[in-house]
Structures are given as C-alpha cells and as structure tokens.
C-alpha cells in the first residue's frame, strides 16, 4: 500500500463515541446482544449478507446489496464517519444496521437488515441506531428513507417522522424523512428498549465469535421453506 496515496484517499473522520452495548430480551425469552462492530468483523458479516442478494422478496436484494457495499467500503476506509451495529443471539448474527454522520448535527440512517424474522429484530435494531445518533453522538436529527413497504410502515408512521420536501437522502430513491430529538424522546419509551450495561460475560462471548448460518438456512429464515406443493 502506498501510504501517501492512502492518506489522500482516507479522509479525516469525526471522533465518534462508541455505542455502549445492551441486551434485549426477545419474545422467545432469548437474549439478543446489540453491539457496535469493528472494521475487522466486517468480512464475516458480508458472508451472511451475500445470500440476500438473490432474494427479491421485500426488497432484501436491494437492501442487502447496498448494505454489503457500505460495510465493505467502510471497512476499507472509503466511507467516512460510518458505523454498524449488530444483533446476536447465542453468538449467531440475526440482524445488522448501519448509518453515518453526515455532519456533526445530522445523521444519516442507511440500512436495516433482519435475518431472523418474527421477533421484531428489525424494530429493535433500527431503534438502536436512532439511540446512537441522538443520545450518544449527540446529533439533532437523523435523515431516513425507506426502500420497502415494511420499512415505511415501521419507521415513517411509528416515529411520526417529518417529511422533508425536496431534500434528497443520499441513498436516492424516495423522499427523505427526519427524526428530530424531540420526536425521538417522545417515542422512546415505547420504541427503544434494552438493558445496560450488557453483562460483561455475555458481551465477551458475543465479541469472541460471530456465527453465521449457511446460505440455505439464511434463505429459509428470510423466505420460509414453504410452498403449496411442499410435502
């Protein structure tokens, strides 16, 4: 690597306080550790995201392909002021969300990918993102757009997001909406949960290894195995 060239291509970043891990009890009684990842953990997560590139249902392919490229570019220092937060149950990766600081004041929510369905993992992880931007990065607002109807229903309606006429979210596509500090704290009691600190042994265990399911299992978790003619 040409270090001088790398210096040019790798711009200075904000000093971003870390996201303190938390643990959430899910409907099944299982515990999900929600924590921020380091760049070195990206390759294994990319392996888990890869199967989604072939799933058009619920726009998993659009979300998956974009999340893949965002995580890859962040891990290689080509996307600045970004972060990713994951959910793990017994070390198994069940979801991943990401975003970045557009400016000191404004955050950008990028993507939310839930691999395990039916447990509100997407809702929990999206809430964790908003928590990070507002409470730990100290930002005033977060810009959000939706790529799927489920996303739209979950976020635009649930959080009463404010539509921003004529302001383009950096993902392109649909109109952008914003979450303000006021809206966040208004809805926090019913949308943002978790216990802190995450018990140290649980956190250490989660950090020690990210287990990902094989492609067939991931496919089945997202799509279900069912068809009318399946025995």
């Amino acid at each position: 690597m040409d270090l001088e060239l790398e210096q040019i291509l790798r711009p200075p970043e904000y000093d971003m306080p870390p996201y303190p891990a938390k643990v959430i009890t899910l409907a099944t009684g299982k515990l999900m550790v929600v924590r921020q990842i380091e760049r070195r953990e990206v390759p294994i997560i990319l392996e888990a995201i890869k199967p989604t590139l072939k799933i058009s249902r619920d726009f998993y392919d659009v979300v998956g392909s974009r999340l893949y490229s965002e995580l890859l570019s962040w891990s290689r220092y080509r996307c600045r002021n970004a972060y990713a937060i994951i959910g793990q149950i017994d070390n198994i990766l069940v979801g991943c969300v990401n975003g970045r600081m557009f400016s000191k004041r404004i955050g950008i929510s990028l993507h939310t990918l839930a691999i395990e369905r039916g447990l509100r993992i997407g809702a929990h992880l999206f809430a964790a993102k908003m928590e990070y931007h507002i409470e730990f990065l100290g930002q005033s607002e977060v810009w959000i757009t939706a790529e799927s109807p489920i996303g739209f229903r979950r976020w635009m309606i649930e959080y009463e997001l404010i539509k921003q006429e004529g302001i383009q979210h950096e993902l392109g596509g649909a109109e952008s909406y914003k979450l303000t500090r006021e809206l966040y704290f208004k809805h926090k009691p019913r949308l943002v949960v978790g216990t802190r600190p995450c018990p140290p042994e649980l956190l250490e265990k989660a950090k020690s290894q990210i287990i990902i399911a094989d492609e067939e299992t991931i496919n089945r978790q997202i799509c279900g195995a069912k068809g009318a003619w399946v025995k």
Binding site: I24, T25, L26, A27, T28, G29, K30, R57, G118, L119, R120, A123, H124, A127, P149, R153, P189, R190, L191, V192, V193, G194, T195, C223, G224, K226, G227, A228, W229, V230
Partner: protein
Amino acid sequence: MRNVAILGVGMTHFGRLEDDDIIDILSSASIRAIDDAGIDSKEIQAIYVANMGAGIMNHQTAIASALADNIALLPAAADTIENGPASGASAIKNGVLAVASGYFDFVLVVGGEKMRGVSGWRATDFVATLTHPYAEYIYGVTLPGMAGMFANLYMEKYGYTQRHLAMVAIKNHRNGMLNPYAHVQMDITMEGILDSPHSVVNNSPVATPLNLFDCCPVTDGGAAVILCPEERVREFGKPIVRVAGFGQATDTHTLAERDDPTDLKAVTLACKQAYERAGITPQDISFAELHDAFTILEIAEAEHSGLFEKGEYKKALEAGEVEITGRLPINPSGGLKSRGHPVGATGVAQVVEATLQLRGEGGLRQIRNAEIGLTVNFGGFGNNVVALVLRRVS
C-alpha cells in the same frame, strides 16, 4: 338422512406461499385430500370451495369453476361459499347436507386463501369489509379493533388480565411447534411477551387491550376434506370419523346493536344445535378447535360453547387442563394464533385437525382419548358462527 363421514383430509403448509396463487393453493390441498382418501377423483360429484378474498385480493372470481378445471374434476358441480371467516365450516356444512340428502356420494370441500400477495394495509382493509359499511367500516375500524372493543368489556366483566391472554398465546405457540403445517413456529415466553420491560416492543399494541401476540398472523394456505356416506368408508379401509352434528346462527351485524356485546349468542346457539344434532352434551367433548383469531376469542368461545362456565376458563388455563396433555385440550393444532388464519381455509383446517386427532394421526400433538371433537368457526365479528361436532365411530 344418512350419516356423513370424512374419508380424506389434506392441507398445505400455512404461511407465506410466495410463488403460489389461489388456485395453486386450493389445488394442492384438494389433491392431498383426494390422495389421503384413496379414491379415484372421477368419483367426486360436487365441490364446495370456501374462500373470502379471491375477488378482492387476488382479482379472481368464480374460483370453484377454475379449480374444477385445474384438477380435472369436470363435470362435477362446483360452488364457492363465502361466509367471511366462517366460510370453511359453512362449506363443510353444505357438503354434509349434500351427502346426507342422498344427492351426492363423494364431495370435495376445500378452503383456501392467498392473503400475502397484498400489503398488510390492504389485507387489514379486506378483512374489515365484513363490518357494517356505513356504521362501522367508514370509521377505519379493523377486526383487531372490534376484538379490542369486545375484550375491553369481556375482560372487565369476567376478571381476565393480559396475563391470561398471554397464557393462551404461549399455549398455542407451544402446540404450533408440534404442527408441521403451522405458519408460526416460535416458542414464546411470558418473560418475552409480558414481564420484561422490553415486551413493550416485542409485544406492541395492535388494538388495545390486544397486543401483537394476541392476534393471529396473515396467512396463505389451503385445507380440504373428502366427504362420503358413512356406510361407504369401510370400502377404503379408513377409520370412520362421522360429522355427528352441525349448528349455525347469526347475530346483529353491528357490534353496537348487540343487546350485550359480551354475549356471543351466535356461538352459544350454534354449539347448542350441534350438540343436539349429535345427541351429546358439552361434557362429552374430548377436545376443541376454537377460532382464536384473537386470544380473547379462545377464552370467550370456550365459555360460550358450554365447555366452561363464564369466567372459569382462566382456572383451566392456569391448571393446564387445556394443554395437549390436559383434560380438555383446546387448539391442539396451535389454533389460528400459531397455525395461521387463511380466512377461507380455517374452518376446513379445524376439521382436518379434528379428523387427524380422532384417527390417532396427530403425531407429536396427538391427544389421549380423542372420541368427540368440537370445532367453532367464528364469522364476521361473531354474527355468523358455525359449529361442528365430529366423532370417531368404532
């Protein structure tokens, strides 16, 4: 009138059947029932198709005719039966009458629904069309909303709490884990859905006082039975499961106009008729498949069907009496809560489950001493209810 038996049963997996349209779903369920019966399909003289939403959600009508063509049952008589969420049991009732009358010997009854092809908003709207058009529907009310209004009154009147509702959901999810056809196979806990402070997200409100895990999912799926005169079952070497009785009753269209909105008169009357026709009392029932589109309805139907006194179901829940291993198993299939609720298919799926139990083919969820089963299919919001009693004949 002659006795009618169930010769064959079949159902698809319930869930999100992405690549299948409504005719695929109905066809698959029908073929499974035909194969289970072991008959040549040319023997089928009449078909009753139970469906509520094909016209609205799938933009397809006259589906009974389409099905007859698709599975080569021409020139059989074929009708679609639409009775809201009670379409399934209504279709079974019609099939039973057709065979009992002597007009037909072999009848296919199949229920199916394709609901996941439209957005959740549209599915919610579709189901809401069963409410009164200008006294209820226009307000934006939903079926969960109707159930919420009912639950609000019923829980106060009979001393039920969120914990009791959660116990119903947990039991039915546990049963669903044993049912390979169930839509939702997820073992949930009281900690996860009620006790933990995180349950505010896990089990968020849908229509107060009902939360996410108090409501059945939106499901695709199909279920079918083959009916025949009881005296012909032996030709096929099958156990005899008789449709011993049925009952049906209607009530006011609007919830507001019920004399007492907590009184599910149509359930009580439909069950009473079914018991009388079967020559039994509620005490003779071994198990029941009830219509728990909402957890509160399992409780209310158990009490209005005469299986339990009003307000007493909670004791049975707490004592484990209604578990698969209990004295009177309720919803061994996982119910609508876990098995899922493809609206037109549900009533038929309840009968499929009852038949499997009575034959001893319930697999891991087989109950002991299955002699007589009750199914309750709750149409509208309790304004059209069909009850069926099935019994094993030695």
